[in-house]
């Protein structure tokens, strides 16, 4: 089972300005998360957010496509590989400025993934097998 997320926004700025905002390390740190991004094909990088219960806060990425100022695509892996997904930004000039299409794709495995996503190192072992079944059973209750 695969589910995708798609977001569309129009920003009143030309594509090269929006492109800078999605490819500059400083800009990304401001609106997305602290990172060591570089818009170079094949380059691995990381986003680091504050750890949350069950998540170390690290997203491991690799640049898969850079076509300025139009397309940026990278892999997006977190929670020890439980989340193994792709993120793509597509910019398109429109009369109002720039339309940004953000697609986050490749989510698999439905609920079990959320469990893995939230469960941290300490709980992982305990919860992995036993809780998954319980949550899914109970959540299915009307």
């Amino acid at each position: 089972m695969t589910r995708d997320l798609r977001f569309e926004e129009v920003y009143p700025y030309p594509p090269d300005v929006v492109w800078r905002a999605i490819t500059s390390r400083e800009a990304l740190a401001e609106w997305l998360a602290p990172n060591d991004f570089e818009p170079a094909l094949g380059r691995p990088f990381e986003f680091r957010s504050d750890p949350k219960p069950g998540w170390d806060g690290i997203i491991r990425c690799q640049v898969l496509e850079v076509d300025p100022p139009r397309t940026l695509r990278y892999s997006w892996v977190s929670a020890n590989g439980a989340v193994d997904t792709l993120v793509r930004f597509t910019l398109e000039p429109v009369p109002e400025g720039t339309r940004l299409l953000l697609e986050h794709t490749g989510f698999r495995g439905a609920k079990s993934l959320m469990i893995s996503f939230l469960i941290g190192a300490g709980w992982r072992r305990i919860l992995r097998h036993r809780v998954r079944a319980t949550v899914e059973r109970l959540a299915a209750r009307p």
Partner: protein, 123 residues
């Protein structure tokens, strides 16, 4: 926004903590059949009644069961909403990106002077 977000995460942590315990998982399972008084729940366990009550209290604090009094009895009922929220993992990413895209807009607005006439005068 921030405090609400934090609260939400704390709640989720609380839900997971509840589920780490086999007694509490069994209690939730028993309650799937419908509401039950504490005495009826307790017969399924070897532990004392107060010990079972303690687990039920923890479940109540996590928002997973609701309690009502009927005469001298306490009656418990399953509240599945928090479990459904936790189970709907994709919504986390949806929240994540929605928040981030608003921040991207703020970033663009802050980093660039208003292009003349190109913007709505909102905010």
């Amino acid at each position: 926004m921030r405090p609400a977000l934090k609260e939400k995460n704390d709640c989720k942590a609380e839900v997971f903590r509840s589920l780490t315990d086999s007694t509490r998982r069994k209690l939730l399972d028993l309650l799937r059949e419908g509401e039950k008084p504490v005495m009826e729940l307790a017969v399924h366990f070897k532990m004392s009644l107060p010990a079972v009550s303690q687990h039920l209290r923890q479940l109540r604090e996590a928002g997973l069961v609701l309690e009502r009094r009927h005469g001298r009895q306490r009656i418990y009922r399953l509240e599945a909403t928090p479990l459904r929220e936790v189970a709907d993992w994709l919504s986390h990413f949806e929240d994540f990106w929605r928040t981030r895209l608003v921040r991207l807009r703020d970033h663009l607005d802050a980093a660039h002077a208003k292009p003349a006439g190109a913007r709505k005068e909102s905010k």
